[in-house]
């Protein structure tokens, strides 16, 4: 039995709570029915990505390549900044159903590369452009395209000169929610920085 099979067995026999922590944090909570308080059930328009950094999310938490406990009381996620964007990269960007020819869709490049069953080891890659992230370009180009065209995923930014390298060796963890402050003595929006 290898080390990971040992952990599986320990988890099965409830000796060690290996599954308490995992990549259970949503990639996004914007544009979901869980946060739809619109009068006509227009969930996508009611809570687009643009609101997610400013308004509290009621139905859950989200974050970039995040991990949390199985009750989602404590959430950790990456926040990146290339020094150019008007906002931090805290969650995946995307369009709502009626903003693009492909409907509701995330417009980011990220890859889950490896994981053990117990999440004792995980490896993921997020590609963040060193130039400005083309937020408005993605919105405008997708609005222009018809259903007969292919969707626009921002191939322009991955084709551009300086952007193929993933950015940033340092990572910042943001306190994600009020619920979390119980554990970490902070308020929502407080920044706890450390070097990764």
């Amino acid at each position: 039995m290898n080390a990971e099979e040992n952990r599986l067995e320990e988890s099965r026999r409830r000796k060690v709570h290996w599954k308490r922590w995992g990549p259970y944090l949503s990639e996004r909570q914007w544009g979901t029915v869980r946060d739809d308080y619109s009068p006509y059930g227009t969930a996508w328009e009611f809570f687009p990505h643009d609101h997610a950094g400013r308004a509290p999310i009621a139905g859950g938490e989200d974050g970039l390549l995040g991990i949390c406990d199985r009750h989602q009381l404590v959430c950790f996620a990456l926040a990146l900044w290339n020094g150019r964007d008007p906002i931090l990269k805290e969650r995946l960007f995307g369009l709502t159903a009626n903003e693009g020819n492909h409907g509701e869709d995330v417009k980011e490049y990220y890859f889950y590369l490896d994981s053990t069953p117990m999440h004792s080891y995980m490896n993921a890659l997020y590609k963040y452009p060193q130039g400005e992230f083309p937020y408005s370009q993605l919105v405008e180009e997708n609005r222009r395209r018809s259903r007969k065209d292919f969707e626009y995923e921002g191939s322009l930014w991955i084709a551009s000169r300086a952007s193929s390298a993933a950015c940033s060796g340092s990572a910042t963890i943001i306190l994600m929610s009020g619920r979390m402050s119980k554990y970490l003595k902070g308020r929502k929006g407080d920044v706890v920085s450390f070097r990764s």
């Binding site: 990639e27 996508w44 159903a97 020819n101 492909h102 409907g103 509701e104 869709d105 995330v106 890859f111 889950y112 590369l113 890659l125 259903r147 007969k148 065209d149 292919f150 969707e151 995923e153 191939s155 991955i158 084709a159 193929s164 390298a165």
Partner: protein, 186 residues
């Protein structure tokens, strides 16, 4: 279906000009590309044609197209069904694979062939390109991108290019199961 029905059903399923694409079973036969299925109900004409790529309608949020592309959940169920039929009918039950080729194969081999075609979506072909990334040059050529694989929601019914959500890991991840099984056979 019983044996009487299974034979003609598989004749369409394994026909490359109908359901059998180079990258799995299509959601609708390619026959309907030039011959849309038309149904008249109460004076209204409804029609459905083979559409291998993006959805042409806003149904289901406009980002699902079950009218032509290759979808993993259905393909996986078809593979399992063929394996069960093989278990019941055995090696003697042969079908033409693909239809019109004159080559006879057992149902197990037919299931394995569909599995191979699905797996081929992600593998580099002879020209060094991965069908899943179609015309995306960055993913085809850039050494920092070319080995990063997305598990798309569904795939182009003619060329295998990935379409829809790029992280439909749940069911497109079934390709891992297909690979595991094919390796065991070897």
């Amino acid at each position: 279906v019983n044996r009487t029905h299974l034979v003609p059903v598989l004749r369409y399923l394994l026909d490359e000009s109908e359901f059998l694409s180079p990258y799995g079973i299509r959601a609708i036969s390619r026959f309907h590309k030039d011959h849309p299925y038309v149904l008249r109900v109460g004076g209204t004409e409804h029609r459905v044609a083979y559409e291998p790529a993006e959805s042409s309608t806003g149904l289901f949020g406009g980002n699902s197209n079950w009218r032509g592309p290759v979808w993993f959940p259905i393909n996986f169920l078809l593979i399992e069904a063929l394996q069960k039929f093989h278990h019941f009918y055995g090696e003697e039950f042969m079908v033409e694979l693909p239809t019109g080729s004159g080559r006879q194969a057992s149902l197990w081999e037919a299931a394995a062939e569909i599995s191979r075609r699905l797996t081929r979506i992600f593998l580099r072909s002879a020209d060094g390109r991965r069908p899943v990334y179609g015309g995306l040059k960055k993913f085809q050529n850039d050494p920092y991108w070319c080995d990063l694989i997305y598990f798309y929601e569904y795939f182009h019914g003619d060329n295998g290019a990935g379409i829809g959500a790029s992280h439909q890991t749940r069911w497109t991840g079934l390709v891992a199961k297909l690979i595991e099984q094919s390796v065991r056979e070897v």
